[in-house]
């Protein structure tokens, strides 16, 4: 193969990314999962023969940074290369080897060229259902969460393992949809294989992957080198359940390496909010990428200079059988924590704290028919030295609100007001973004079950450089404060007000 010049490399690379994106577009189109279609809760990755990533689908959310290549390596440890045959497809949803909760199913398939494995196609996707209890923060251990699939071969030389398929089908609520999505994942892997074959004729994928990783790694190292060396610290907390959950983060910048340690954070909890190391890494790496080098591509090279650690048994490194279905509730808070830790040294890019999304889910029966509807709501985000914080923007996940008209079509509620909670953002030279004021009236003819997920209910998002904190969120039933951790039964005429927190300000006002 001829040496890769800056033009050929760009072309080959672009083509690989476009193949991955083509497979991902085909996958999204055929997926049953609303989270896949509305929130891009999936990823498609092409790795080399050792499971090192070369290209990842562009649309995927940050949860999947670095996870799939690690999963492929776990597959390889269980099924060494010499045991793999063309047409083999492997599957697992082990949170520690996958993406941090069992709702994501990982699929990987070896790609052969001239009888040798040259690559892996891998797809991870949030399933429409995985059995167990409906995802909820109150779940105590992984057994309650649903079906666990260890590393197994789903297809053996192209032949499906019908026992395994039957087993999965019997354990989920919507077997056609869950199995349908798994088949769509396999189809995406096959499409990637087919698209890659012509390229393999005259391209050394290992060399190409090596060059891509090297360039990406160099860009990230360069970005880290621009940060003054030192050890930086930040602490924040989640409202928690019986008591708050502490997030303690220490960022060490040493030359062109950046290490994040979570020692001092709370121990793991018997709730579904534990964050396994692979997810701890994914969201930490997202924070570093967004803060220091947003243009760096999503591949293993970019994240080589970054490492994360947390003591075993802590909230960021829990022991089996910890539950982790709602890992994002705590995991999302790593992002502002890292940004706060680095605020003083990257002042130009520093952002005050904001908060992640809240939601209300209502279920019941109205006029003889069951209903279930969820409305996500977002909060104010933190200010920077250049601008005010965003009013109600989803961060760091990316979930849109439910239109009032859709919410009222789906459930017997009337939205009285959806407005900006003016003045809730922290004061400062630049103000924190405002949160939401959302008020509904129940119009159901029988009792309505309501479950609210609220965050930043007790702990306000902090400002930076002298900016004031934002206001905490609030939850009122008929004018009285109520606890979001409880389940509530609402009756006709009840009014619920949900207020999300404002973001922190930047600079003294």
């Amino acid at each position: 193969m001829k040496k890769l010049d800056p033009v050929s490399l760009e072309i080959q690379w672009k083509r690989l990314v476009s193949m991955v994106d083509e497979a991902s577009a085909a996958f999204v189109r055929t997926s049953f999962s609303v989270l896949v279609r509305e929130a891009n809760d999936f990823a498609v990755v092409l790795t080399d023969a050792q499971g090192r990533s070369i290209a990842q689908s562009v649309l995927s959310i940050p949860s999947f940074i670095g996870t799939l290549p690690a999963t492929v390596k776990h597959f390889l440890a269980r099924f060494p290369p010499h045991t793999l045959k063309p047409g083999d497809v492997m599957i697992t949803n082990d949170p520690w080897m996958g993406t941090g909760h069992i709702h994501d199913v990982n699929i990987a398939m070896p790609i052969f060229h001239k009888g040798r494995i040259v690559a892996f196609a891998a797809v991870v996707s949030h399933m429409p259902d995985i059995g167990g209890r409906i995802r909820n923060a109150g779940i105590r251990d992984i057994y309650e969460e649903g079906l666990q699939i260890p590393r197994l071969k789903l297809l053996n030389a192209g032949k499906p393992d019908q026992n395994l398929l039957d087993m999965i089908g019997r354990n989920v609520r919507v077997p056609e949809q869950t199995l349908g999505d798994i088949w769509a994942q396999i189809a995406a892997c096959k499409m990637l294989d087919e698209r890659l074959q012509p390229l393999l004729r005259d391209t050394d994928l290992a060399a190409l992957g090596g060059e891509i990783r090297a360039r990406s790694e160099a860009a990230m190292r360069k970005a880290i080198r621009a940060v003054p060396a030192g050890t930086y610290h930040a602490q924040t907390q989640h409202d928690g359940f019986e008591e708050p959950i502490l997030i303690n983060c220490t960022v060490q910048v040493k030359g062109d390496r950046l290490a994040i340690d979570y020692t001092g954070s709370s121990p793991q909890v018997p709730r579904a909010v534990n964050v396994v190391p692979i997810y701890t890494f994914a969201y930490s790496a997202f924070a570093v990428k967004a803060l220091l080098c947003p243009d760096v591509p999503n591949n293993e090279g970019s994240f080589m200079p970054i490492s994360t650690s947390a003591p075993l048994g802590s909230i960021f490194n829990p022991r089996y059988p910890a539950a982790s279905g709602g890992r994002g509730m705590i995991g999302h808070m790593m992002v502002p924590a890292i940004m706060m830790a680095l605020a003083d040294v990257v002042r130009e890019r520093a952002i005050a704290e904001g908060s992640s999304n809240s939601s209300i889910t209502v279920t019941g029966e109205h006029q003889g028919r069951p209903y279930a509807a969820v409305n996500f709501m977002n909060a104010g985000q933190g200010a920077t030295g250049h601008r005010d914080g965003y009013t109600m923007l989803s961060f760091p996940s990316n979930l849109s609100n439910t239109p009032i008209e859709i919410f009222e079509q789906m459930a017997p509620v009337r939205v009285i007001e959806r407005s900006i909670r003016r003045g809730s953002g922290g004061a400062g030279r630049h103000r924190g973004g405002d949160g939401l004021h959302f008020e509904i009236e129940v119009v159901a003819d029988t009792p309505m079950m309501a479950s609210m997920i609220m965050t930043r209910f007790r702990t306000a998002p902090q400002g930076i450089f002298g900016g004031a904190p934002g206001k905490v969120g609030g939850l009122l039933l008929n004018g009285k404060s109520i606890d979001p951790a409880d389940h509530w039964v609402l009756k006709k005429g009840d009014r619920v007000v949900m207020e999300t927190a404002g973001g922190g300000g930047c600079g003294a006002a």
């Binding site: 033009v7 769509a184 239109p403 008209e405």
Partner: protein, 706 residues
């Protein structure tokens, strides 16, 4: 000369205002001969360029056909005026009337980020300031029942507040107005009565679809451009009347049809994508004339490149899109518009895309563009950055003396200087950089098209590519090779492609009505009544656009899903009486479409209709066009040989250059070859069979892939 010998030529004229040029095209019947005209767009008064183009066309025709008396039967118009007004935020001061409790909906929008990694996103600002939004105490429920009536005193209070707003236009968008327009109608009537000069747009009249933010955004955009567009169309009508008395003015709309000037003035948001829609229709007309039904329309100009998939000779239609994006290539960064539109995607910034070295040390092209001014370095208008056009010139694909038929001389020296800078930075030869730019931009466009095609559930290899736009035929063969599309067609008059499309367009109207209901529970009497109203209204509009009853085709559409799902599947049926007998046909068609998209059905799920649609269209005819001026000659003219870069040989080689229109239908030449015409150049840099079809379309069958 006796009266009997005077031949009356019926002439139809199309004028398309683009970012840089205003193109005009006249076709004469019988015979389908065409003339083209081109002039610089006149942004201070866009109608000026329209006038000069029409005048020039009439002059050309009169000169060519002395004996005949030109009679203009219609003028079809496409314009970027609406798009530009929204992008530049130059519309009217606009007010907004909403249901109590929803004043902030326009600001809150959907709360999602269009780029996950950009911490400093620019959020598109609403077109109506917060202090120009009025809440009114009224309420409907999701079934359209009145929960809080609109009291007379409340309406008076609203009108008084409106009087104090100092606005030239007002949008009205109330909750659940997609299912019942009762309160919106009351407000509209009261506003029109008290403020007869105010432009009014009501959501139930503009986009009767569920989702309040998107409907509000659409209604606001419409109100915002209404005064300006109404004035523009009025003046244009007068201008056309002066040049061609009695010729009605038809306006091209985004969905790929035309409507009357009156309808366009009332719902100007329909015009958003009118020019690009014309390009697609032109490609489709060419494909139809040659018996091809599955195409990828590829249009590349100086500032934009677009692609569109057409299946069964029909372009795909999207029912929502975005305008005025703050980040050009990022989905979600614009203002949502709920309007049927030909499903075009922007796949690049065209010939003006600028090349640079990125932070990984690699050559990149775009998304930054030199625009029309200063343009590529070789234009000699002050641009210094190397662009795709500069690379095309260096590679021999463009003839410096034949740009716009030689009117604009391209400066090879300036292109070389611009490329030399990059070459030094990358330690490559200028030729390697030039080919790199060309190859990368082709790869980028192919990648964007590939993903778009996959989203629509197709395989690129099923399609033929039809190239339009000035730069389309220059890049088409290479982009097709990357997509493994075996066949490329180059239409005639590629440079004025949108205009040919405007003349091939049918009259078309679209109406919609959201009323989410399980199919089993549909109140067919009510649906029939609404369809009756929609159709009567649509017929009026089509008649005012000059369509006749006998030639109209009506289609019933429904956006359907299984209850509880988040995405719709579009179902379309030919018109039939709306009764409960429609239900089984609707479900059958839904299941057929669902199976095609998702592979299989969802057992035990309940189908639901979210939005009803009605489309009326005059029958699409095949239009045969042929040059009216003296381009076509009796024998093939070889303009000699030119050194061009041959990508598979990775070196320059001499290829034959033909004057495109000197090649008669039926002739065949072999690639590599170049076919030049006044407005464009067809570059075939690899082995291929090149054939001239009966309508002078060039068909390239590619023989070499990678």
């Amino acid at each position: 000369m006796t009266a009997g010998k005077t031949k009356v030529n019926r002439i139809r004229i199309a004028v398309d205002i683009g970012g840089t040029f205003t193109d005009g095209l006249a076709v004469i019947a019988p015979g389908g001969r065409i003339w083209v005209s081109k002039t610089l767009t006149t942004p201070h008064d866009p109608g000026e360029a329209v006038t000069s183009v029409i005048a020039d066309l009439l002059k050309q025709i009169t000169a060519a056909r002395r004996a005949a008396k030109p009679h203009v039967t219609e003028v079809v118009h496409g314009t970027t005026l609406v798009t530009n007004t929204l992008v530049e935020r130059k519309g009217a001061r606009t007010g907004l009337i909403v249901t109590k409790g929803t004043r902030d909906v326009l600001t809150i929008a959907r709360e999602i980020r269009y780029d996950l990694y950009d911490l400093n996103l620019e959020i598109p600002q609403p077109l109506v300031a917060e202090d120009k939004r009025l809440e009114v105490d009224e309420r409907l429920d999701a079934q359209g029942n009145v929960v809080t009536p609109l009291a007379a005193a409340e309406l008076d209070r609203l009108l008084d507040s409106l009087a104090g707003l100092d606005v030239a236009a007002v949008a009205v968008c109330l909750l659940h107005a997609y299912v019942s327009d009762v309160h919106e109608k009351q407000i509209e009537a009261a506003v029109r009565k008290r403020f007869p000069r105010l432009a009014v747009a009501v959501s139930s009249g503009i986009a009767r679809e569920i989702r309040e933010y998107e409907r509000m955004s659409t209604t606001v955009c419409n109100a915002y451009v209404q005064p300006l567009v109404a004035e523009y169309l009025n003046r244009l009508d007068a201008r056309v009347h002066d040049l061609a008395p009695g010729a009605p003015l038809r306006i091209m709309v985004s969905s790929g049809g035309f409507t009357s000037g009156k309808a366009a003035a009332e719902t100007p948001i329909l015009l958003l994508e009118s020019g690009p829609a014309g390009g697609v229709l032109s490609a489709l007309n060419t494909a139809r004339n040659n018996g091809i039904a599955e195409i990828l329309a590829f249009d590349m100009g100086g500032t934009t490149a677009k692609a569109c998939v057409a299946v069964g000779a029909q372009p795909l239609i999207a029912h929502s899109f975005e305008c005025a994006r703050v980040s050009r290539f990022k989905r979600g960064s614009g203002l949502p518009i709920l309007m049927p539109s030909i499903d075009l995607i922007e796949i690049g910034a065209g010939g003006g895309s600028i090349a640079h070295v990125n932070n990984l040390g690699l050559l990149n092209v775009g998304p930054a563009s030199s625009g029309a001014v200063p343009g590529p370095a070789c234009y000699g208008l002050g641009g210094t950055a190397a662009t795709v056009t500069d690379a095309d010139l260096m590679l021999g694909y463009l003839n410096p003396d034949n740009f716009l038929g030689g009117e604009m001389k391209l400066r090879t020296d300036l292109a070389r200087t611009a490329l030399a800078g990059l070459a030094a930075e990358l330690k490559l030869t200028p030729t390697a950089v030039a080919w790199g730019i060309c190859n990368i931009v082709n790869e980028n466009m192919a990648a964007a098209a590939r993903i778009h095609i996959a989203e629509k559930g197709h395989d690129p290899r099923e399609f033929a590519m039809v190239a339009t736009g000035g730069a389309g035929p220059v890049h088409a063969v290479e982009v097709a090779r990357k997509l493994r599309i075996p066949r490329v067609l180059a239409t005639i008059a590629a440079g004025a492609g949108s205009c040919l499309g405007l003349l091939a367009a049918p009259a078309r109207v679209d109406r919609s009505w959201s009323n989410p209901t399980l199919v089993a529970e549909i109140d067919w009497g009510k649906v029939a009544q609404v369809y009756g109203e929609l159709r009567a209204d649509a017929e009026d509009e089509l008649k005012s656009a000059g369509a006749r009853d006998v030639t109209l085709k009506w289609r019933i559409g429904a956006e359907m899903r299984y209850a509880g799902q988040g995405h719709n599947v579009s179902v379309t049926l030919p018109w039939r009486n709306v009764t409960s007998a429609l239900a089984p046909a609707l479900i059958r068609e839904f299941e057929r479409c669902y199976r095609r998209f998702y592979g299989h059905l969802v057992p035990n799920a309940t189908p639901q209709v979210i939005t009803w649609r009605l489309t009326g269209c005059s029958v699409v005819k095949r239009h045969k066009f042929a040059w009216g001026d003296a381009r076509v000659s009796a024998q093939a003219i070889m303009r000699g040989k030119r050194e061009i870069y041959l990508p598979l040989k990775q070196k320059f080689g001499a290829v034959t250059v033909y004057d495109r229109y000197s090649l008669k239908p039926g002739s065949r030449v072999a690639g590599p070859v170049i076919l030049e015409e006044r407005e464009s150049t067809l570059v075939v840099p690899v082995a291929a069979d090149v054939k001239i079809l009966p309508d002078y379309t060039v068909a390239v069958t590619i023989r070499e892939f990678e």
